[in-house]
């Protein structure tokens, strides 16, 4: 069977895949992407390049993806609805396909008030559900959102979405995932899992609706590097649920990096066994150097 990307192939044939996030630099030096790509080579099936995450201006996702392609690594291009309207987004979908990018992940985007240009005007012409459906229609029906026909090559993407199991109400968050699946999402990467109980109950609801059979779910994992980072995740990053017991383990530890590393290994061990989980998405938030050890020690990925 023909797959659109290696990530699709891994999820479909192996039934388990690993993706890793690469944050592009706040500058234009391609070496920053190459260094991270080289360091993470052999650690994952595909590499997400974020799109101005937390509304901070960085090198564009498409450029980062092209640099990875040049190194023989498979990128997942993240696309946020915050900064571009439907014209620009669809244009970039065409451009990304032309450059050889085969995985795309649609997100609505962190609100601009959290970033380094809080006075900017958010676009939000589309939301993530609509963007997923538009890309799916461009691919499968060959039409743009307006109904106008795509000529000279339809984009061939393996289409992804994000999901947050920790926002409330839980039931509504599963409804939202279901909508993304109906819209056309084929894989889902979740918000970083720290609260296992809440993740399990969300997955139960996901499985009881049969959604795990319709979409590949990759659970998010984030190793905590320091107390400062744990504080940021616990108190300042919207949508993250970092329970007190994990927070206190970091706080009380003499070696916070070691503790953060151990916690992530424990979480991976638990999360990968949960019914319906088809893979892991590791987001190290600028601590990418720890990923090779995590992948090696947890045994989640073999070249």
């Amino acid at each position: 069977m023909g797959y659109r990307s290696n990530l699709e192939k891994a999820l479909s044939e192996r039934g388990f895949a690993v993706t890793v996030e690469i944050g592009p630099p706040k500058g234009c030096d391609p070496a920053r992407i190459r260094e991270k790509g080289e360091m993470l080579r052999g650690c994952a099936d595909a590499f997400n390049v974020t799109d101005n995450q937390t509304a901070v201006v960085r090198m564009s996702s498409m450029a980062g993806c092209c640099i990875l392609l040049g190194m023989g690594l498979e990128p997942v291009m993240q696309m946020s609805c915050r900064d571009r309207n439907r014209i620009a987004l669809q244009s970039d979908v065409l451009g990304a396909d032309a450059m050889g990018i085969r995985n795309i992940l649609c997100v609505t985007g962190d609100h601009q008030c959290f970033g380094n240009h809080p006075g900017s005007k958010g676009v939000y012409d589309l939301d993530s559900v609509q963007l997923i459906k538009i890309i799916r229609d461009m691919r499968d029906k060959g039409v743009f959102q307006s109904g106008d026909e795509v000529s000279f090559g339809k984009p061939e993407f393996f289409i992804g979405a994000a999901a947050n199991p920790f926002s409330d109400p839980c039931e509504l968050m599963v409804d939202h995932l279901e909508k993304k699946v109906v819209a056309g999402a084929e894989f889902v990467q979740t918000q970083s899992v720290f609260n296992l109980d809440r993740f399990v109950s969300w997955m139960d609801e996901v499985c009881s609706r049969g959604l795990d059979k319709k979409v590949h779910i990759l659970a998010g994992v984030t190793p905590l590097k320091s107390l400062k980072m744990a504080e940021r995740m616990k108190f300042h990053v919207p949508g993250v649920d970092l329970p007190d017991d994990i927070f206190n383990r970091i706080k009380d530890s003499k070696d916070q990096m070691r503790e953060g590393y151990e916690i992530s290994l424990e979480l991976i061990e638990q999360v990968k066994k949960i019914r319906g989980v088809h893979g892991l998405h590791i987001t190290a938030l600028f601590w990418e150097s720890i990923i090779p050890s995590i992948v090696r020690e947890s045994g989640i990925y073999h070249m």
């Binding site: 439907r86 609100h111 008030c113 559900v129 409804d175 939202h176 909508k179 819209a183 919207p238 949508g239």
Partner: protein, 211 residues
């Protein structure tokens, strides 16, 4: 109603620049909002006079956004207006522009126009509308996500809300939590399954309307 907020006094003083000033208020929204009624016009007059600004006169228009009313009411103040270098208007952006259309003077907007909103109780207003041009409130149980969600999400929440509050402002209810609670209570949760198509913004270029 059009909800407004007074600009910072120091910004106004910078704009007025020690010139002779005529003050205009509005009898409608700005009065209810306590930003441009007679009381606020007189208070502004006192404050500016204390700062050394020469106030040559004032009027409260009924309302400021009505062109013919403005022509008629401002005519009565022609002498004071002649003596003014600048006109400070305590009305919404629409009112400011109507006044400016009538007068050949430098017109300064004294208040910021925030949104179309509900009067929740005295002195408390909440955003309800951004005049997007196509009303689809019935999709959302009459809670408007275009105006009340900072990301204008039409297909559900963004994943940043905690305990029913918006990630952008912890004092603000997440409109999707409200929609969800309402649908659940009314037994209409199935409505959430329908994918709402991208909005048609073509009406937003509409610049006039004639009956």
């Amino acid at each position: 109603m059009i909800i407004t907020k007074q600009k910072e006094l120091k910004d106004l003083l910078n704009r007025l620049n020690d010139k002779s000033v005529f003050i205009v208020g509005c009898s409608e929204c700005a009065t209810v909002c306590h930003t441009g009624g007679e009381k606020e016009v007189l208070a502004m007059k006192d404050v500016l006079q204390k700062k050394g600004v020469n106030i040559v006169g004032w009027v409260v228009l009924d309302p400021a956004c009505n062109l013919n009313n403005d022509k008629r009411l401002l005519k009565k103040h022609i002498k004071e207006l002649d003596a003014a270098d600048k006109v400070l208007v305590l009305a919404c952006g629409s009112g400011v522009q109507t006044v400016s259309e009538v007068l050949d003077k430098e017109v300064i907007a004294g208040i910021d126009t925030l949104f179309l909103g509900e009067i929740k109780r005295v002195n408390e207003f909440e955003k309800r509308c951004v005049t997007c041009g196509v009303c689809e409130l019935d999709f959302f149980e009459d809670f408007c996500p275009v105006s009340r969600c900072p990301k204008s999400m039409l297909n559900g929440p963004c994943g940043g809300s905690v305990n029913g509050k918006c990630e952008v402002n912890k004092d603000m209810d997440c409109v999707w939590s409200e929609i969800f609670s309402h649908l659940k209570e009314k037994g209409r949760l199935h409505k959430l399954k329908c994918i709402v198509e991208p909005k048609d913004w073509s009406n937003s270029v509409c610049i006039d309307r004639r009956l």
